[in-house]
Symmetry: C2
Subunit: 471 residues, 2 copies
């Protein structure tokens, strides 16, 4: 095993990008060099490529060994066949860690690729170099101003993501940022030839900068060790896991993606639960859980008061709440009468879901309704649902007025002390999408949990309650 | 029973909007009068309101009886208490049909409301007036230039929608239009006091302008009759149904929404299947089915070739295909080698899903890959999946170039003769949303089936195959 502690991968003092190109259209250079410049990485950045004198305004070196100063971290963009030599150079240069975007190893399922990956690990370990990947996108650590994506947030959060797939990290980081959740350490580890999911899980469990651990796992080579480490981690902080390989096709996919053995899904399901992790199906549910953990006090129970306009939307909300694991107590007559004082709209059902079109009345009627629901002891939480594309009038002028009013209502909603969430449901039209983005932003600024459907809200909140019940 | 045939509700020669207001902020007038003007309804439009001389540039009348010419159709925006008098006026004026947006009847669950609704039906039937609702938004029939929504498409399609909920019609029409499917006759029937789901189902089954019938049903008052009519309709054309009231809370909701008895869901499920209808969970699945019926030749079987970039995205696509009911045969070595001629990208899995980043290569490599997949006899269809928010570089300039290239690739894709579909999956960022909208538009123009997730595509296509297998 290597002697370098894993910490080195998050705090390099200098980075060499081997295979970076001066060609403007070179996708790999855009992927790995541009983000370091965009993030203002404070250490030295060394492009390495014998074909160029300069890359992106930085002096380029023909070979890693030609770099004058020390190199802590190497990003490999060279073809697989060139990687053993690069590893040898890394050892000579006393590099602490190398991350290989380069693919073409065990994931090909071919003997050459498998042999080549073993060779890389042998060289790396012989020289004490930590190896990330191959076939991975590497490290995003905004606190160290390191990123493999130029549009990732520069703001550092306290969530870690351990991901066998690079694509899932792009999606998760962007999706979470839109809802106010930020990552502190993201590691895409690909084929896990050296640094693997168990190493990273143990590291994040002990990392004082990490409050929540998330992971995307296709399979492991040492399931026993991973489950042991996972159990220890989950005892310390919430661990939320996407475990792929549920179907036969998915299992074949994981093997050709990262060479991972997905294993029997039922066994995995039980093991993950016993370890204390929260298993989710995909990245949307993962981000929903992060939003819930980040913004919602733990509800005392599963009973929810739902408020929002529309008969069909209310029927749907009721079904989706129950499908997600929440319960809807019936609103007592006294509270119904109280709400009726502020809304004498014909057609309002005033049960639960409380079907009121509060928007045209603004805060004057909205705040007393919120107060009434807050004072209802049967309701453990309040869920406000909206469906812009279900609304009858969506002219530009009308939407502008309504959105301004609703932003104000979100501010009032943010003062509710009970656990609460806003759902803006099912969007198809441009004006609906714009409205959703505006209200999501208002929620992000106010620290209000936001979800894109009642079902997803209910599922996340129900799992969140379940997590706390088991502890 | 009334003597007016149902056809009158779709072809009125004149419409009175009773309760229309000259106040610019009057939501109900915006909902019901503006769309008639926007659609250029060619018959006479009569606002009725004793408080105004003129409404929206049209002469207003104090009472329905004061209108000089004949009135075929009345839209009621007056309070519930005023409706018996209005119905009496309708009978006197020999109105053919009245549609009541007015609510406050059986859906309130209160004796007064129940009695009032019975009274309306009695008066209507005594004078041969058809009554739609109460508590409904009415008729959208672009062929007659009638709409209750200004932003609905003016283009008439050949799909009918029979909807107990008005909100669901707004959502369904807008969602379908974005994907190239247009409705010809939409009827929101609310409390179904006179015209009910069975009447409308029979009408649409015999309507030569309707090829596909869709419905949103919360419950019926005469389930036996509805199932009989449904069976007859489903024997003639595809019928796709959202049946709500699956959960206890949903059932309570339907009763307070439209006063409907939702009934036992398991019984409904079996009955709908036996009647030959396709049951879907919600409006997204309903529109997915319409897209499939509209644009996809019937695949010979459930085997799909999936193509698109990304390891994680491919694993997800494989799982979602199987979860939705499709199968992924493994790509034979010979075809793998053939595709490899056009793509020597390291890291490409070249199994199924075929993980290729074709975009930077444009049509030069894309068309031969499509030809290869088209020539693969094991593949009954081709599914192309994309996840913009999973992509590493999303700068404005880069996205512009990529989107242009992909629009061109959609044009090539539209020439594939095998059943095919495009999926643009999981969108969160503004640039991802823009790209989805651009590609969805390209699909709409080219008549290519478009879905927002692989799972939804697979589920709809699998149900579509099942529908044809059963016939």
């Amino acid at each position: 095993m290597s002697h370098q502690p894993l910490n080195v991968i998050f705090h390099p003092r200098s980075i060499a990008v081997v295979g970076a190109s001066a060609a403007a259209t070179n996708l790999h250079t855009r992927m790995f060099l541009d983000p370091l410049l965009e993030f203002g990485y404070p250490g030295q950045i060394y492009p390495v490529n014998p074909k160029f004198q300069e890359v992106s305004g930085l002096k380029a070196y023909p070979n890693l060994r030609d770099i004058p100063g020390p190199v802590d971290h190497v990003i490999s963009l060279v073809p697989a066949a060139a990687t053993p030599q690069l590893l040898t150079d890394c050892v000579a240069k006393q590099v602490k860690a190398i991350q290989l975007f380069t693919a073409g190893f065990v994931e090909t399922g071919e003997a050459d690729g498998i042999r080549l990956q073993k060779e890389l690990v042998r060289i790396a370990r012989s020289g004490g170099v930590r190896l990330l990947g191959p076939n991975c996108v590497g490290i995003y650590c905004p606190g160290s101003r390191i990123s493999y994506c130029a549009d990732f947030p520069k703001q550092a959060g306290r969530v870690a993501f351990i991901a066998q797939s690079g694509g899932y990290t792009y999606l998760a980081v962007r999706m979470a940022a839109g809802r106010g959740v930020y990552f502190g350490k993201v590691t895409s580890y690909g084929n896990a030839a050296d640094v693997n999911e168990a190493d990273l899980m143990r590291f994040m469990a002990n990392d004082p900068e990490t409050d929540i651990i998330t992971a995307y796992i296709e399979g492991t080579t040492d399931g026993q060790r991973f489950l042991k480490v996972l159990t220890e981690a989950a005892a310390k902080k919430p661990v939320i896991i996407i475990k792929k390989g549920r179907t036969e096709a998915g299992r074949r996919g994981t093997s050709s993606h990262t060479g991972a053995l997905a294993g029997d899904d039922q066994v995995w399901d039980t093991a993950l639960r016993q370890a204390g992790a929260v298993r989710v199906e995909d990245v949307d549910e993962l981000v929903d859980m992060l939003v819930t953990f980040s913004f919602m006090p733990v509800p005392k129970g599963r009973k929810v008061a739902v408020v929002g306009a529309g008969g069909g939307a209310s029927v749907r909300a009721a079904e989706e709440c129950e499908a997600g694991g929440l319960k809807l107590p019936a609103l007592p007559d006294a509270l119904r009468a109280e709400i009726n004082r502020y809304f004498s709209l014909a057609g309002s059902m005033l049960r639960n879901p409380v079907d009121i079109l509060a928007e045209p009345l603004g805060d004057a009627a909205w705040v007393p309704v919120l107060n009434t629901l807050e004072g209802w002891p049967e309701a453990d939480m309040i869920l406000w649902q909206m469906s812009p594309d279900m609304e009858p009038v969506r002219t530009e002028e009308f939407v502008r007025v309504v959105v301004d009013m609703r932003r104000g209502m979100v501010r009032s909603f943010s003062n509710v002390r009970k656990p609460k969430a806003l759902v803006v449901h099912t969007l198809e039209t441009p004006s609906g999408l714009d409205e959703m983005v505006a209200l999501r932003e208002e929620c992000r600024e106010r620290g209000v949990a936001f979800y894109p459907s009642v079902y997803r809200a209910a599922l996340a909140i129900s799992r969140y309650i379940g997590y706390h019940e088991r502890r």
